[in-house]
C-alpha cells in the first residue's frame, strides 16, 4: 500500500463507514451495529501498518500526504504524523472500537444515527491529530463539535439540551479566537502549514496575543480551571459512549494543541506566562480534586477527577519551559513526556471509569452513589475490574496512571519544590475520592433492594473492560514503547522552546 495514503484512509474510512451506517437506517439496528463494528475494527487494524512503518528515530513528519486545497491562500490538504500524534491516533482508534462494542445494547433508539455519529467523530478526531495544515486542523477541530453536539443532545440524560449547548458554545467561543490568530500567522508567514508557523518569527507583542488566542481554544478543550465548568455538565448528561470519547480523546486534543501550537509557535510568550498556567494547573490538581471528593453523582466525580488529572498534563507541559531555558534539557523532556504519557494513560483510565458507570447505569438507571453499596456481592468479576481501574486512577504503581504522574512530579521537583509538593497531594486526594467511591459503591452491605437483582457483566462487557485493564497494566509495567515513539519528537520540541524567537 502506498504509505502516504494511510493517514487519509484512517481519517476517511470511519467517515465513509459512518455514511454507510446511516444508509443502513434506523430500521435495521442489527445491520447498523455490525457495520459499525466492522468499520471501527478496520480502523484499528489500519493502525498496525502505521505503527510498524513509523520510524522512531526521526522527529520529522512521517506518512506525509500533501495536496493543494485552496491555492489562493496556500491552504493544503497536508497530513503527517510524528511521535506526538501517533500514540493519540492509536488511542482514538482503540477507544472508538471499545465504545462501539460497549454501546451495543445500551442504545436502542435511532441506532444507525448513533453509531454513524461515533464513526464520523472517530474520523474527525484522527484528522485533528494528522493535520499539518493549520486550517485543515481547524476544520477537523470544529467539525467534531457537530456529532458530539448531537450525541449529547439526542441520546443524553434529562438535562441534555442545556449541557450540549453549553459544551458547544464554550468550545466554539474558544476556537474562533484561535482562528483569528491562525489567519494572522497565515498572512504574516504566507504559509498555512503548522511547521512554517512554528518557524515564523514573531515579536513579543504578537506572541502574547497569539498565545492567549490559542490558550482560549485549548484551555477550554482540555479543560483547565476556571473554564472547566462545561465538562461536568456534558459528562453527566452524555450517554456512556459520549462520555468515554469526551474524556478519553477530546480532552487530549487540548493538550495536544498546547504541544503542537502554543509552545513552538509562541515560546517566549509561553515562558512569560507559564506561571499563569502552572497556577491554574495546580489549582486544578488540588482544588478540583477536592471538589471531586464531595460529589454524589458518579459521573460528576469522574469528570472532576478528569479535570484534576489533566492538570498534570498542563503542569508537565508548562514547567518544561523554564527548565528548557535554564539548560535542563533532560528535565524538560521528562516533564513533556510525563504530560504525554499522562494523556494516553488518562485516555485508558477515564474510558474505563466511564464504562464502569455505564455498566452500572444500564442495570440500575442511577448514577447516584447512595443508591449503590455491596455491588461486589452480586457482581464479583465487575468489582475486581472496578477496583483495578480506581486504583489506576489514584496512581497506583504498576498501572499506567502512576507513570505519567510520577514523571511529572519528578520533573516538577527539578523545577520548584512547591510545584512538586502540591502536585503530589493528588496522590492523597486522588486516592481518597477514588477509594471512597469504591468503598461506597462496591463494598459494604447491600442497602438497596435493586442491587440484589444485579447480574454480573456479560462476555461483551468483560471483553471491553479486560482489554482496558490489559493496556492499563501493560503501560504501567512497560511504558517503553510509548516513550520510544515520542522520544525524538519531544526532544525536537525542547529544542524549539529553547530557541527564543526574539533574538533569532
Amino acid at each position: 500500500m502506498n504509505e502516504s495514503l494511510l493517514l487519509s484512509l484512517l481519517i476517511w474510512a470511519p467517515i465513509v463507514g459512518g455514511v454507510l451506517v446511516l444508509f443502513a437506517g434506523d430500521g435495521r439496528p442489527a445491520m447498523a451495529r455490525m457495520l459499525a463494528l466492522l468499520v471501527s475494527l478496520v480502523s484499528l487494524l489500519l493502525c498496525i501498518p502505521l505503527y510498524m512503518g513509523f520510524d522512531t528515530g526521526v522527529a520529522d513528519m512521517q506518512f506525509v500526504q500533501q495536496l493543494p486545497w485552496i491555492e489562493t491562500f496556500g491552504i493544503q490538504y497536508y497530513l503527517g504524523i510524528d511521535g506526538l500524534s501517533l500514540p493519540l491516533i492509536i488511542l482514538t482508534a482503540f477507544i472508538s472500537l471499545l465504545v462501539i462494542i460497549a454501546s451495543w445494547e445500551a442504545v436502542n433508539e435511532r441506532v444507525a444515527q448513533y453509531f454513524a455519529a461515533f464513526l464520523m467523530l472517530e474520523g474527525l478526531m484522527i484528522g485533528v491529530f494528522c493535520a499539518v495544515d493549520a486550517f485543515l486542523f481547524y476544520v477537523f477541530f470544529e467539525a467534531m463539535l457537530i456529532p458530539m453536539f448531537l450525541i449529547i443532545g439526542v441520546w443524553g440524560g434529562p438535562n441534555r439540551v442545556y449541557a450540549t449547548f453549553k459544551f458547544f458554545l464554550y468550545t466554539f467561543l474558544g476556537s474562533v479566537l484561535m482562528l483569528v490568530a491562525l489567519v494572522y500567522m497565515l498572512l504574516k508567514g504566507d504559509s498555512a502549514s503548522i511547521l512554517a508557523m512554528q518557524d515564523l518569527s514573531l515579536t513579543m507583542r504578537e506572541q502574547t496575543w497569539i498565545f492567549f488566542a490559542l490558550f482560549a481554544a485549548f484551555a477550554v478543550k482540555i479543560p483547565m480551571f476556571p473554564v472547566h465548568t462545561w465538562l461536568p455538565d456534558a459528562h453527566v448528561e452524555a450517554p456512556t459512549g459520549g462520555s468515554v470519547i469526551l474524556a478519553a480523546i477530546m480532552l487530549k486534543i487540548g493538550g495536544y494543541g498546547f504541544l503542537r501550537f502554543s509552545l513552538p509557535i509562541a515560546p517566549d510568550a509561553s515562558l512569560e506566562y507559564d506561571w499563569l498556567i502552572i497556577t491554574f494547573s495546580l489549582i486544578a490538581i488540588v482544588y478540583v480534586g477536592l471538589i471531586a471528593m464531595v460529589q454524589t453523582d458518579m459521573k460528576k466525580l469522574i469528570a472532576y477527577s478528569s479535570i484534576s488529572h489533566m492538570g498534570f498534563v498542563t503542569l508537565g507541559t508548562f514547567i518544561a519551559l523554564s527548565m528548557a531555558i535554564a539548560g535542563n534539557t533532560s528535565g524538560a523532556a521528562l516533564a513533556l513526556e510525563g504530560g504525554m504519557i499522562q494523556m494516553i494513560s488518562h485516555g485508558f483510565i477515564s474510558a474505563a471509569l466511564f464504562l464502569f458507570v455505564g455498566v452500572l447505569y444500564d442495570r440500575m438507571h442511577s448514577r447516584n452513589i447512595d443508591d449503590y453499596g455491596g455491588v461486589i456481592n452480586k457482581m464479583p468479576v465487575f468489582a475486581a475490574f472496578s477496583v483495578l481501574f480506581f486504583m489506576a486512577n489514584s496512581g497506583l504503581p504498576g498501572t499506567s496512571g502512576f507513570v505519567g504522574e510520577f514523571m511529572v512530579i519528578l520533573a516538577s521537583l527539578q523545577a520548584n519544590f512547591w510545584y512538586a509538593f502540591l502536585a503530589a497531594t493528588t496522590l492523597i486526594v486522588g486516592a481518597a475520592y477514588s477509594l471512597w467511591l469504591v468503598k461506597r459503591v462496591i463494598f459494604g452491605e447491600i442497602t438497596n433492594e435493586k442491587v440484589n437483582h444485579l447480574k454480573d457483566i456479560n462476555g461483551r462487557e468483560t471483553l471491553v473492560l479486560s482489554s482496558l485493564a490489559f493496556v492499563i497494566l501493560l503501560f504501567g509495567i512497560w511504558p517503553d514503547p510509548l516513550v520510544d515513539v515520542m522520544h525524538e519528537s519531544i526532544y525536537k520540541l525542547v529544542e524549539q522552546i529553547q530557541q527564543s524567537k526574539l533574538t533569532g
Partner: protein, 486 residues
C-alpha cells in the same frame, strides 16, 4: 454626439434575450389555460437556462476583457458574468422550490414568473452598470418587481401591509440614492464611473458636496443591503411575504447588492475610500450585533432568518470595507454562498408547508429528524453553514472575510465579527436541537415532488461539496474582482 455601434449589441444579447423572453412569458401566459400553467413554469426555467447559455457563449474559453459599451452605461467583465450566472442559478432554484407552494395557495400565476424575470433583468443591469443612471435603472426595476411580488397574495392583509411598508421605505431609499447621485454629479460633473473616479483622483471636485453625496449614496446602498440602521423593512417583509417570495428576495438580490457596492464604491467613488470605509465599519458592526442578538429572540423562522440576513450583511460589508481585492473577492464569495444557503433554508421551510398550513414558527421544525432524516440533515447543513461551522462552506466564506480584514490591519474587527458569530451560533443550533432532540408535533408525511427533492438535496450537498472544491470557486472570485476597472 453619441455614436452607436451595432457590434456592441452582441455583448447585450443575454439581457435582450431575458427581456424578450420575459415579455413572451407575459403574453403567452394569457393564452395558457389554468391547468396548463406548468408551461409557464417550464418556459421561465428555459429563459434562465438560455440566458445563462448566452452569457457562456460570449466567453471564448479565456477570461474576457473588461469592455465598457453603450457610452459608458454598461460594462461587461468577469465579475458581471460570474454574478449573473449565480443570479440565474439561484433564481432557477427559487422557481423549482416555489412551484408546489404557489400551486397550493392559488398563487401559481404567470405574474410571479414574469415579475421574477424582470427582477432578474434589473439585477443584471445593476451588476453590469458603469454609470449612476444604469445603477438606478436596475435598482428600480428590481425594486418595483419586488414590491409587487410581496403583494402577490392580494387577499392577505399581512402581505399587503408589508408590501406597503417595503414600498414606502424603498421609495425613500431610492430618493436618498438619487439625491446623493445628483450631488455627486454636481461635484464631479459626470455620472460615469470612469470619469468620476478620474475627476476625484485629480482633486477637481468640491470635497464637501462630494462627501454629502457619498453619505446619501451609502444610505441608499445600505437600505438595499438591509444593513443596520436601515434594516427596518427586512424582518417585516420577510415575514409578511409569501414564503416563495421571501425565498426569492432573500437570495439573488444580495448578489446584486454586492455588485452594486463594488461598482459604486470602488469603481466610481474609490477615491473616497477613507470616507466610506468609516461608514461601512459602523454599519457592519451594528449589523453583526443587532442581527445576531435579535435573532435569538425570534419565534418565527422567517423573522429569525431575516435577522440572520442582517448579520450576514454585516460580514459582506466587512469584506467590502477592507477595500482590497482580497476583501472584494471574499465579499463576492460570501454573497454567492449566502444566496445558496438562504435559498436552501427557505426551501426547507417551504417543504414543511402544505396546503392550508404555513411552517412559520420554529416549533414546526420539532422532530424533523423523525419525520424525515434526510431533509433534517439538509437543514442541519444549511444551519451549520450559516453559522460558519466547518466543514460546511459557510466557514470558508467567513474565513475569507476574516482573512481580508486582518490583512488590512483591522484585526479588532475580525475579533468583533467572530465573537458575534458565536452568539449567532446559538439560534442556528436551536433549529438543529428542535429537529433532532425534540419530538414531532406534526406527523404529516413529507413528500416533495421529484424536482424539488432533487434540487433541495443537491443544495444540501453543495454545502459540503463547495467546501471541498472551495479552491476553484475562490479563484474565480479573485479573478473576477481583479477585472474591476478603476
Amino acid at each position: 454626439m453619441m455614436e452607436f455601434n451595432t457590434s456592441e449589441l452582441t455583448l447585450l444579447i443575454p439581457e435582450m434575450l431575458l427581456l424578450t423572453m420575459a415579455c413572451v412569458v407575459l403574453v403567452a401566459d394569457l393564452f395558457i389555460p389554468e391547468q396548463r400553467r406548468g408551461i409557464t413554469y417550464l418556459l421561465s426555467i428555459a429563459t434562465l437556462v438560455f440566458t445563462a447559455i448566452a452569457i457562456l457563449r460570449l466567453h471564448d474559453g479565456s477570461a474576457i476583457a473588461t469592455t465598457v459599451i453603450m457610452n459608458g452605461a454598461f460594462v461587461r467583465d468577469q465579475l458581471g458574468d460570474v454574478l449573473k450566472l449565480c443570479i440565474l442559478g439561484v433564481t432557477g432554484i427559487v422557481f423549482v422550490y416555489s412551484k408546489a407552494y404557489l400551486r397550493e395557495r392559488n398563487l401559481f400565476k404567470g405574474e410571479f414568473y414574469v415579475l421574477c424575470l424582470f427582477a432578474v433583468l434589473g439585477m443584471m443591469v445593476i451588476v453590469s452598470s458603469a454609470n449612476m443612471l444604469s445603477v438606478y435603472l436596475g435598482i428600480e426595476l428590481l425594486a418595483l418587481s419586488s414590491y409587487t411580488l410581496v403583494a402577490l397574495n392580494r387577499d392577505s392583509g399581512v402581505a399587503s401591509e408589508s408590501a406597503m411598508k417595503y414600498f414606502v421605505l424603498g421609495a425613500m431609499a431610492s430618493g436618498m440614492l438619487l439625491y446623493g447621485i445628483s450631488m455627486i454629479y454636481g461635484a464631479t460633473g459626470t455620472i460615469d464611473f470612469q470619469t468620476m473616479s478620474e475627476v476625484i483622483a485629480a482633486g477637481g471636485a468640491n470635497g464637501m458636496i462630494l462627501s454629502f453625496g457619498l453619505v446619501f449614496v451609502v444610505i441608499g446602498l445600505a437600505f438595499k443591503f438591509g444593513a443596520v440602521p436601515f434594516h427596518m423593512w427586512l424582518p417585516d417583509v420577510y415575514e409578511g411575504a409569501p414564503t416563495a417570495v421571501t425565498l426569492f428576495i432573500s437570495s439573488a438580490p444580495k448578489l446584486a447588492a454586492v455588485a452594486m457596492a463594488l461598482r459604486l464604491l470602488d469603481f466610481g467613488l474609490g477615491g473616497l475610500f477613507e470616507h466610506w470605509q468609516q461608514m461601512l465599519i459602523i454599519m457592519a458592526v451594528l449589523s453583526l450585533m443587532l442581527g445576531n442578538v435579535v435573532a435569538i429572540a425570534q419565534t418565527n423562522i422567517k423573522r429569525m432568518l431575516a435577522y440572520s440576513t442582517i448579520a450576514h450583511v454585516g460580514f459582506m460589508l466587512l469584506g467590502i470595507l477592507s477595500g482590497s481585492e482580497t476583501g472584494y473577492a471574499a465579499a463576492m464569495f460570501y454573497a454567492i454562498t449566502y444566496a445558496i444557503m438562504s435559498a436552501g433554508a427557505f426551501g426547507v421551510v417551504i417543504l414543511l408547508s402544505r396546503a392550508g398550513f404555513e411552517a412559520e414558527t420554529l416549533d414546526d421544525f420539532a422532530g424533523l429528524n423523525r419525520r424525515n432524516p434526510w431533509y433534517a440533515f439538509v437543514m442541519l447543513s444549511m444551519m451549520a453553514s450559516l453559522a460558519g461551522i466547518p466543514p460546511f462552506v459557510g466557514f470558508f466564506a467567513k474565513l475569507q472575510i476574516i482573512n481580508a480584514v486582518v490583512d488590512v490591519n483591522l484585526t479588532w474587527l475580525a475579533i468583533v465579527a467572530v465573537i458575534f458569530s458565536v452568539i449567532g451560533v446559538f439560534y442556528y443550533l436551536r433549529i438543529i436541537k428542535l429537529m433532532y432532540m425534540d419530538e414531532p408535533t406534526d406527523e404529516h408525511p413529507i413528500s416533495p415532488r421529484v424536482d424539488m427533492a432533487a434540487v433541495l438535496s443537491i443544495n444540501g450537498a453543495l454545502q459540503l461539496l463547495l467546501s471541498i472544491f472551495a479552491g476553484p470557486l475562490i479563484a474565480v472570485c479573485v479573478i473576477a474582482v481583479s477585472g474591476i476597472p478603476g
